[in-house]
Amino acid sequence: MEEEIRRVAGIVLTAPLARRTRRELLYCGLGGLAGVAGFGVTLVLLVAGLTVSASVLGTVVGLLLLTLALRLSRRIGSLHRRLGNRLLGQHVETPPRFQPGTGILGRLDRRLRDRAAWRSVWYNLVKLPVSALQLYAVVIAACGLYDLADPMIWLFSQQYRGRGPGSLAVWQPLPFGGDFTVHSWLATVPAALLGAASLVAAAWAVRGISAADRALVRGLLGPRTMAERVSELERTRTLAVEDAAAALRRVERDLHDGAQMRLAALAMNLGMAREKLEDPDSETVKELIDAAHRNAVDALADLRDLARGIHPPVLDAGLASALASLATSSAIPASVTADIATRPAPAIETIAYFCAAELIANATKHSYANEIKINIHTERGSVLRLVISDDGVGGADVSRGSGLSGLVQRVSTVDGRLDVSSPGGGPTTVTVELPLHA
C-alpha cells in the first residue's frame, strides 16, 4: 500500500520531467495560439458571410466570404491535425481531399457541402475555450520555471554584483492574489517550491487539456462519414490502378529500349560475323564477335536491372537487409537503423523499399548532402515508419517534383502518408508512414 502511494507520488511529481510533457506543453503553446487565431478568422468570415448574404444584393459576396471561411477553416483544421499528429503522437487520418466540381455553381455547391470543412469550422469555434486553457497552462509552466530559478538568480546576482538583488519578484500563476516579492535568499526557497508545484500542476493540466483536445481533433478533424471514406477509397483505387498500368508501361519501355534492342544488335553482329566466316579477314570477324559479346553482356545487365526493378530479390530477406543493401550502393554515404518488430505484408515492404530507393536517388541528385540517414521501425504494432533524412540543401517540394508526388500517390493507395520537411538550406527529412498490412 505504502509502496503504491510512493509509486503514484513519484509519477505525479516527475511528470514535469517527462519528454511527453514537453511535447504536450509545446502543443498547448502552439495549438493555443493557432486556436485563438483560427477562432478569430473563422468567426469574422462566417459572421460577415452570413450577414452580407442575408441581404439580397450581397448574396454573391456573402457566398464568396462563406467559401473563403470554409477553405480557411479546412486549412487551419489540417494545421491543428498535423500539430496533434506530430507533437501528441496521435494518428488522425487526413479527411478526403476536396473534390472541386465543374463550373462556378458546381464549385460553389461542392464547397458549401464540404463536410470536412464544416467540421473544421466547428472545431475552430469550439477550440476557443480550449485554447484559453492551453495558453493558461503554458503561463503556469512559465511562472513555475521562473520561480524555480529564483534562488539561482539570487545567487548569481550575489556572485557577479557582490550583493543580493535586494528584492525579487515571485510570479504566482493564479489569476487572483497578485505577485509578491521576497527580500532575502532564504525567502526564495519557498518561492522555488511554489515554482516546482506550479510545474507539476502545469504538467498535469497540459495532459488533461491535450487529452480533451485530442478527442476533439479526432472527432472533428479526421475522416468520419462512410461516404467520405468511400470517396477516399475510390480516389486511391484509381491511383493504384494507374500506378500499376504505369509500372507495366515502364517495364515495356525498358525492355524495348534496353534488352530487346541489345539482343537485336547482338543478332545483327552475329549475322554479319557468320557472313564473314569464310572470309580470310579474321580481324573483322573477331571485331564483330566482340561487339556481339558486348551486346549480350549489356542485354544481361539490362534484364537484371529490369528484373530487380520489378521485384528486388533482396527484399525476400526482409526490409532491413534490403535497405542495408540499398544504402551500400548509394553514392552518398548512407546508414540504416532498423527496428522492425512485426514483419509487414510483402506489398507494404515493396512500397517502403521503392520509397527508400526513390528518396535516396532524389537526395543523390538534388541535395548535395554528405550523409543520408535511413531509419525504419514499427510503431504500436500497426504502423511502419520510414524516415530518410539528409544534411543537404533542402528545398524538396511535393507539389513540384514528379518523383515525390508519385510516391505520395503510391503510398496513399494503401492509406499511408508521406510528409516532407525540407526548408531551403536544409536539412531534408521525409517520413513515410504505412500500415503493416495493406
Binding site: H256, Q260, M268
Partner: protein
C-alpha cells in the same frame, strides 16, 4: 542501292549502317526520328528507307506516320518498316496504298544478313517483303473474315510466301519442291481467288492483297 535509315537507338543505327555498307550499299543518311527522315529522303532521294516504328518524341508510331507520308510524297522510294513488334493495324495501314515497294520486318530478321539484304533490295526494286510474322497475323485476321476457305493448306503456304515477296523459284527452294509444282499451286490460287490471266506480277500482287485484305 541508296538507303536512308531512321532508327532512334544509336547502336542499331550504326550496326545497320555498317551492315549495309559492308554489302556495298550507300547509306546516304542515318537519322534518329521521323522529321529528320522526311528531310533526308527529300534531300537524298534514296531507293529505299529503313524505318523504325517507335521513335521520339512520343515513342508510339512516329515511324509509321512518317512512312505513310513517304509513300505519298515519294512513291519511288521503297519503305521497309523495321520494328520489334508486329501490329496488324500497322501493316494494314501500310498496305492500304498497295503492296509495291513496301516491307515490314521484325528486327530479329537482321540476324540473317543475306535474307535481310535481299528483302531490302526487293523493296527498293518495287517488290514486297513481309515478315512471316506479319503474314501469319494478317492470315489470321483474314481467315476470320472467311476469305481463304477454299485454299488447300499447301496453297496457303505458297500464298504466304508470295505475300512475303518471294519469287516462284524462291518459294520452290523454301518448300523443297520443283518449280513446276509451285507454278501449279500459284495457278490454282489465282483461279480460286478469281484472278484473270494477265501480267503475272500484277496478279501476284492482287492475290496477296486479296489475301491480306480479306
Amino acid at each position: 542501292m541508296h538507303v536512308v535509315i531512321a532508327e532512334d537507338a544509336a547502336l542499331l543505327r550504326e550496326g545497320l549502317t555498317r551492315l549495309l555498307e559492308d554489302r556495298g550499299h550507300v547509306v546516304s543518311a542515318a537519322v534518329p526520328d521521323g522529321d529528320a527522315l522526311l528531310a533526308a529522303v527529300a534531300e537524298h532521294r534514296p531507293d529505299v528507307a529503313v524505318v523504325d516504328i517507335r521513335m521520339p518524341p512520343t515513342h508510339t508510331d512516329e515511324g509509321l506516320r512518317a512512312a505513310l507520308k513517304l509513300r505519298q510524297d515519294f512513291p519511288g522510294t521503297g519503305v521497309l518498316m523495321f520494328s520489334q513488334y508486329v501490329e496488324t493495324s500497322y501493316s494494314a495501314q501500310l498496305l492500304e496504298g498497295g503492296a509495291a515497294g513496301v516491307g515490314y520486318l521484325l528486327k530479329d530478321r537482321v540476324a540473317n544478313v543475306a535474307e535481310f539484304s535481299a528483302a531490302l533490295e526487293r523493296v527498293a526494286g518495287g517488290g514486297t517483303a513481309l515478315d512471316p510474322e506479319v503474314v501469319s497475323q494478317l492470315f489470321r485476321a483474314s481467315r476470320q473474315r472467311g476469305g481463304l476457305a477454299t485454299l488447300t493448306p499447301r496453297e496457303r503456304q505458297v500464298l504466304a510466301l508470295m505475300a512475303e515477296g518471294r519469287s516462284n523459284a524462291g518459294i520452290a527452294a523454301e518448300l523443297v519442291v520443283s518449280g513446276g509444282a509451285v507454278e501449279k499451286h500459284v495457278a490454282s490460287i489465282f483461279a480460286k481467288l478469281g484472278l484473270p490471266p494477265g501480267e503475272s506480277d500484277n496478279r501476284r500482287v492482287l492475290a496477296v492483297l486479296r489475301y491480306l485484305g480479306g
